[in-house]
Amino acid sequence: MNAADRNEASEIELLLPWHAAGTLSARDAQRVEAALADDPELADRYEAVREELGQTIELNETLGAPSARVMAELFAKIDAEPVRRPHLSVTLAARVREFFASRSPRTLAWSASAAALAIMLQAGVIGGFLLKDHGGGHTETFETASAVMSTPGNGSYAMIRFQPKANMADITQFLEANKLMIVGGPAAGGLYRVMVATTKLQRDALVDRIKKLQEDKVIGFIAAQTE
């Protein structure tokens, strides 16, 4: 092995952690793959890198999550901030770039399946919208037959998306005034699952309830959710 080969070998060795994490450029990944195929010793060391990666993920996953106090305090502080329009430059393009840039091929593979599932669920929501007549009249309302975030049990539920401009105080006031409880979400499209009654309402009663809630200014979208 000449000096150039040795330099290349050490450069490749330095890249192994990023190769294992799937964050190398396609060109570098190809270089590493070629080196691994030619050098069994390097391939053994790569196995060690993969072990480190697995255990680092496991270690971090055992750290748990922050308590609900953090979110409550944060949004209380934000609500206390002087009123201004949030201007986060997270454009759709930036978010898409972030999504793909921040994910390794292995994560992307999983995400592709998740995306397919999300599309199916979304299709389920859309497909489940039923325009119905009630009591022979022309009252139209929406109802989802989707199982998005659905859990069995008593109570009546709706899927809600809040207006983007609605602030925390408005939403809190809306939830309190209508005795609603968020029980799931946010799901794809910013949808939250909300318990609108602790008992199983009759369909007409549920439709009336949803129509009343729909009039509130914080609501961007609402649909009753059936089991």
Partner: protein, 166 residues
């Protein structure tokens, strides 16, 4: 903001917790981080991933918090994190379980080494992104990761596990 918080807060919390090693402090810090995200959102130019930007702020806050602690506190904490391999029954078990031994050794790395290992392996940050978060050249990112791994191998050797490298 809620979506941003929901998407990133757990990973940011874990990143900070690994640096400050105190849950209450980590919670306070991520609250400060996301408040700054809210306040400085207009300054974000989209040249890096949002998560990289947030992790940079989180790192700065964690290091500032660590600097505020007295030397004594740090000494006590450091002493507390170093376990006696002879006295700890877990260590005996770890010898039989390579994965557990690896996790123990990952905990014993210095803050500088823990940070880079977490960023690369757990937060899936590229060389350029780690360089941006930590504020060091890309070549240094690669060598620092190399030395972190080397130290890990040495610690494993102390646990009786020889990986044959370095």
């Amino acid at each position: 903001m809620q979506v941003l918080f929901a998407r990133h807060h757990v990973r940011v919390y874990r990143f900070v917790l690994r640096l400050v090693r105190n849950e209450a402090t980590a919670e306070d810090l991520i609250s400060e981080v996301f408040l700054d995200v809210w306040r400085q959102a207009q300054k974000f130019e989209g040249r890096s991933a949002v998560s990289t930007w947030i992790l940079s702020m989180a790192r700065f806050k964690a290091l500032s918090s660590l600097r505020r602690r007295t030397e004594d506190e740090l000494d006590d904490e450091t002493a507390g994190t170093i376990e006696d391999p002879e006295d700890n029954p877990e260590t005996a078990l770890a010898k039989k379980d390579k994965g557990a031994a690896l996790r123990q050794c990952l905990e014993k790395l210095s803050a500088e080494h823990r940070e880079i290992v977490d960023l690369v392996y757990y937060h899936e940050k590229s060389v350029a992104e780690v360089s941006s978060i930590v504020g060091i050249p890309e070549a240094t990112v690669k060598t620092r990761m190399f030395y972190a791994r080397k130290k890990l191998s040495e610690l494993l050797k102390e646990h009786g596990i020889d990986r044959g490298w370095p």
